[in-house]
Each structure stands twice: as structure tokens, then as C-alpha cells.
């Protein structure tokens, strides 16, 4: 049985330009700052950067990788921090904050080279 304080296995990967672009397009987010480096720079960014729908998707993936395919995700609340640019390395860590019956609340942080990129909580109903 999962208990509060349980640490989730870390998820770390390189945020390549291909990753930024393919996830933006797979989430139907065509804003130029997610696929056009010149446009991103012209708007004051260092490079293209991850979009929010991808952040939410990564947080979900991070939790269900741990909880298993039969867990049900009930809610994902995220707070956005510093941008995650192409070329960054993103590391997700998490721990179980509380468990009530089969419902666990997991705290998640995704950290890049600039600092906390995304943090939040996921409420997930664990499989019986």
C-alpha cells in the first residue's frame, strides 16, 4: 500500500528542439514561440520553449508511469515557473503528500537548468 512520503522514481530527459516542436504540434498548439526559433528570440526568449499542454502531459505521464496504467487521474494542478528552453535538461521528482483510501495526492516538480519550471499536485485514484 502506498503511504504518504513515498518518493516517485525520477524522470529526466533532454529537451531537444524536436521534443519541443513535436509535443507542441501533438497538442495542437501552433504558437510560433514553440516551433520558430527566430520568432521566439524576437519576442525576447532565448529559444523555443515547451508549451503548457505538454507540461500538463508530462506531469500526468510522470505520475501514471509510477501509479500504473489502471490508476485514474482525477486532477492536475500546475503552477508555471521559469521557461524550459530547447537544450535544457528537465528532471521530474515527486512524492506522495497524502493518501485517503485509494486516492493519493502527489506533489510534482519539474526542474530545468534555470530552476523550477513546473510544480504542482496530481490527484490520482490508485488501482485496487
Amino acid at each position: 500500500m502506498t503511504a504518504a512520503g513515498t518518493e516517485l522514481p525520477e524522470l529526466a530527459f533532454d529537451v531537444t528542439p524536436t521534443f519541443v516542436i513535436s509535443t507542441a504540434l501533438a497538442t495542437r498548439d501552433f504558437q510560433d514561440v514553440h516551433h520558430d526559433r527566430d520568432a521566439a528570440v524576437a519576442r525576447g526568449s532565448k529559444d523555443i520553449f515547451l508549451n503548457i499542454l505538454t507540461d500538463t502531459g508530462l506531469v500526468q505521464r510522470f505520475v501514471t508511469d509510477w501509479a500504473g496504467p489502471d490508476a485514474l487521474v482525477r486532477s492536475i494542478k500546475i503552477k508555471l515557473g521559469v521557461p524550459c528552453y530547447a537544450g535544457d535538461r528537465l528532471v521530474f521528482t515527486g512524492r506522495v503528500a497524502s493518501v485517503e483510501g485509494r486516492v493519493a495526492v502527489v506533489e510534482v516538480t519539474g526542474t530545468g537548468q534555470l530552476g523550477a519550471h513546473v510544480s504542482g499536485t496530481v490527484t490520482v485514484e490508485l488501482a485496487a
Binding site: T27, T54, L58, P69, V73, S75, I76, I78
Partner: protein
């Protein structure tokens, strides 16, 4: 109308009309998503959509436009007009009432939840705009999302400034601002600003040099700019023509001043607004 009044009016409109997703929930888009995100959950290859994809189905797409009754678009336009020209998302809170299956066709509607501000933030003064989007299959609510953005006015040094044309005659001046100096063109005994290619008396053989101004002066004339919005500027702002103690007059924004306190004769000192590595603009501050 104030920001608060505009927000109250948009809030009172309630939920926008429902926009139907372009396509029903389908395996092809799910497959693209799991491949890009790297999610190996086997459920998603068996006709169940990842719950976070609920937002994906109703995204506007490459050539999409906001609906005319979209409250977020309306609120952002109000804040643009008020000088809060930049936007950054801060929070997304999605709740899934159930997972979607291939073949279901979702629609979405959005309501303005709250507008809070003005707040001082690290990015500049701004307003937190929160919307609630609800997704339906038929009349069944399947998911909802609170989405919050900060709509802010970047500080005066921010990007988006109109850039001056730098010529061989004016290059020294812009090199000076980068170095934190106000440089005034000098032809013999005569100071001249703005700098030009010839001395006032027109001697074609004369060559100029320059002196560094003290940066002290007084407001000779000024305007308070209320409209229209200017990228990167919070409205209203003051542009002052300053008579330097060296005797020439120079234009620049008077920053950090309440327009009501600005008057002809007001003592000011030079300050420098770094836009980027290539451009620093001269500006004024009230001498206190």
C-alpha cells in the same frame, strides 16, 4: 471604463457559447500525442484518451481564431488597451470527471472567473486573469480547467522599444548611452544636439568631437501620453524635452514620475534604459 468595470461586464456574460472540437476523439491524434510525450501507458492504444488531452481536442489549431464571445480574448484586449501589453500563463488546474473514449465529440465553453489586480510582480505591474473552461460530451460535463494568466506591463527597460536609426553622425551618442554617458556633439565652442553632419554655420571642413554632459537639467516642455497603447509601456507615460545645464535640449521618457507632479522647470537627471546589448535609451528621472 475601468479595468474592474470591464471585468465585471465580461463576467456577467457568463459562459461563452460551446465550441465543438474540429474532430471527434480519435486514435490518430492520441497516437501522435503519446509518441511525442513518450507516454507508454497501454490504455491509450486501446481507445481511451489521456485525460490531459481534453484541452487538445478544442485547441484552435494553425489558422484558428478566438470565438467572438471568448471572455479571455475580450479581457486581454481590455488590459492591452490599459497598457498591460504582455502576458504569461501562471496556473492550469484541470479536473477530469471521466476519461474520454475514441468516437466521442467534445465541445468547450469558457467563462471569466476573476480579474485581480493591479499587483506588483517580478515581471512588472499586472492583473491575474482567471478563466474556467468546461468540456462537454452532449450535455455531460466531462472535464474543467481553471486557467490563470498574468497580464502585465513590463518595466521601462523592457523590449519592444522603437529603435533609433544609428548613423555615422549619431553613432557616438548611442555608444555613449551604452556606457552610461550623455554625449553632446561639439563643433569648436558650439554644442549641438541632436547631432548633425555639419556645424551650425556650415563650415564643410570642420570636424566635431563631443563632451560628456553632467546629466542634470530641467523640464523645458513635456507631453503625457495616454493613448494609444505602446508596446512595452505602461500608460500613461511622460516624454520630456529637457534643457541640460550645458544649454542643449534633449528628449527622453521621464520615468518613475507621477504625471501630476511634472511641470516646466522640474529638475531632472539622466538615467539609462538598457533595451538589449545593442541599444540603451537615454531617459530622465526627477532629481530628488
Amino acid at each position: 471604463m475601468s479595468v474592474e468595470e470591464a471585468a465585471a461586464r465580461i463576467r456577467a456574460q457568463g459562459e461563452s457559447s460551446r465550441r465543438l472540437a474540429r474532430d471527434p476523439v480519435n486514435q490518430a491524434m492520441i497516437n501522435n500525442w503519446v509518441e511525442a510525450i513518450g507516454d507508454a501507458n497501454p490504455r491509450y492504444t486501446e481507445g481511451v484518451a489521456p485525460p490531459v488531452m481534453v484541452q487538445v481536442w478544442t485547441m484552435n489549431g494553425l489558422h484558428g481564431q478566438r470565438a467572438a464571445d471568448d471572455p479571455l480574448g475580450a479581457m486581454l484586449a481590455v488590459l492591452d488597451e490599459a497598457g498591460y501589453t504582455s502576458v504569461v500563463a501562471t496556473n492550469s488546474e484541470q479536473t477530469y470527471h471521466r476519461y474520454l473514449r475514441v468516437g466521442e465529440h467534445v465541445s468547450a465553453s469558457t467563462a471569466l472567473e476573476s480579474v485581480v489586480g493591479p499587483k506588483r510582480t517580478a515581471l512588472g505591474e499586472g492583473w491575474f486573469v482567471t478563466t474556467r473552461t468546461s468540456w462537454y460530451v452532449g450535455d455531460e460535463l466531462v472535464a474543467d480547467m481553471l486557467f490563470r494568466v498574468l497580464k502585465f506591463a513590463p518595466p521601462p527597460s523592457a523590449r519592444g522599444a522603437l529603435r533609433p536609426v544609428v548613423s555615422r553622425d549619431t553613432e557616438f551618442f548611442w555608444e555613449g548611452t551604452k556606457a552610461g554617458e550623455l554625449r553632446i556633439q561639439r563643433w569648436g565652442d558650439v554644442l549641438r544636439h541632436p547631432p548633425g553632419p555639419m556645424p551650425p554655420e556650415g563650415d564643410l571642413d570642420a570636424k566635431p568631437d563631443w563632451v560628456v554632459a553632467s546629466g542634470r537639467g530641467t523640464v523645458y516642455s513635456y507631453v503625457v501620453h495616454h493613448r494609444p497603447a505602446v508596446p512595452g509601456k505602461q500608460l500613461p507615460f511622460v516624454i520630456a524635452l529637457v534643457e541640460l545645464e550645458e544649454g542643449v535640449r534633449m528628449l527622453g521618457e521621464l520615468v518613475g514620475a507621477d504625471p501630476a507632479e511634472v511641470h516646466i522647470g522640474l529638475p531632472v537627471t539622466a538615467t539609462f534604459l538598457k533595451v538589449d546589448d545593442d541599444l540603451t535609451l537615454p531617459a530622465w528621472r526627477v532629481a530628488r
